[in-house]
Symmetry: C3
Subunit: 204 residues, 3 copies
């Protein structure tokens, strides 16, 4: 189990926790909460793999199911303390976002797609799980209205290809890009940076 794997599990855990907590706010049963947690954690990567026409990553190793089960157990046992850990989970979630974005970009590079497809795949890997989660719990997706989230993945993707263009090594490029996502996300929340909202028309 190397470093990347550990970060991958931490990100999966944080994403699953976010799904399970929102499911619990809707009084889902354990099974429903597990499904929502799992979809939040692996949904983005699954959409990416379907679009790239490769076998969804979680069908090749059962660890994502196990990590989601641990997340469910954690919420069941420590539910009332979870809220105190909000800051910790926020950091975990940002770390997961950074890693997932880089993984998405690399998968599309392996399959010879151009830069803009890579950036979309990175963004989908990081952010689409949350959209599926919000669809399942019947809410308007959070990321369409709140602080910068998916855009942090777009930003990290641009940094990734900039590093490649500048001739940086693969490992360094990955680290710099992932940190760009994490930093963009943390700064966006800390300083309430968000995009303008569109003004709704009347009578639409």
């Amino acid at each position: 189990m190397n470093f990347i794997t550990i970060i991958d599990y931490i990100g999966t855990f944080a994403f699953a926790i976010s799904g399970i907590r929102l499911a619990s706010a809707k009084r889902f049963d354990w099974f429903g909460a597990y499904v929502v947690g799992f979809v939040t954690a692996v949904g983005g990567g699954t959409i990416r793999d379907l679009l790239l026409d490769v076998t969804p990553f979680w069908m090749q190793q059962s660890s994502y199911l196990v990590v989601t089960a641990l997340a469910l157990g954690f919420v069941i046992l420590f539910g009332k303390y979870v809220i105190r850990l909000n800051n910790t989970f926020f950091i975990f979630d940002a770390i997961g976002l950074g890693l997932f974005a880089v993984v998405g970009i690399e998968k599309s590079i392996v399959h010879d797609y151009p830069i803009w497809v890579g950036i979309i795949m990175g963004t989908l890997t990081g952010a689409a799980g949350g959209v599926l989660r919000d669809t399942l719990i019947n809410e308007v997706p959070l990321i369409f209205r709140k602080e910068i989230y998916a855009l942090a993945c777009v930003f990290g993707g641009l940094i990734y290809y900039l590093c490649l263009y500048l001739g940086m090594g693969a490992i360094l490029t990955q680290i710099v890009a992932a940190f760009s996502v994490i930093l963009a996300r943390i700064l966006a929340v800390k300083y309430h940076i968000s995009l303008p909202n569109l003004k709704g028309e009347e009578g639409l």
Copy 2:
């Protein structure tokens, strides 16, 4: 037309009826109701086939379209009597669930996937159509909050692989597993067996 085909059509009919009835409660027009019925009936198997990277089963024979049309005609003609047939449809639905779960498991075995993927595919085949249905009619998916439904598929999947492990023949394994799903579903509803709900946090 053999025995399995007949059960398949009965299950498809029952699933389509459930979609059409919920669509009619939302005042959908005939076309909308047909789409929701069709998605309820074939949606789970379609997600399974996309994940397994095979051609969706309903694109290879038009009978699922025809069965859904019959279900729509049935609701249009006998709508006000349908509610009296609730118990009959419940049994049909349970039979469909059992068959669909077994079909899902077998497809993933044909494609050399491990046990846990098979159980997921069986559960998706049986239960994911209902989740898509509830998403289309803009409701929180029922199966995340109500009696055991998807879990009956998980249970039947475990029985399936237990039978294989014990060296039972293919046909007998299929029958035992399908009956396990049906029985688990019927007992869960009869005795109101359900999983605990998660307690929502305040202020989430």
Copy 3:
């Protein structure tokens, strides 16, 4: 850039506008509106391509991203005048619907699918983007309750295969079928033609 390409861009633009306007009615931020616009424009074709197991069309050229960006810029700059252009957008949308339906049919013919699959693929290409849009903004899909929309694609599909059967050339068949869709859509809206609604049962 030939004639078909221009119509394709017009249709994409009109579909993206419809997604962005509905997103703006929900106070989405620019990013959210962009995503909803893009999904509205390319979502139907993406579902089609996933079902046909081919690379999604928008992953092969970046123009759809660009057209969606233009649509977003248009709404941001001219938002308050857009409502006056409703009739223009309605025509653009109908033209896009006709073209998308024909493209969907042709893709399924290239992959040797039977007539009824072609009609479904045409309808998905034209109408499924709007269903995804409504799911993302958490509304019941419009096309399941309003004037004939998806059915215009079904009608155009039948005309398409009728033309083929009558031995018409490929180009003429495409034009006749696309015009059938456009005409059916315009007449349906002009004369408020719609299918009967299903009566909801009590106590469901």
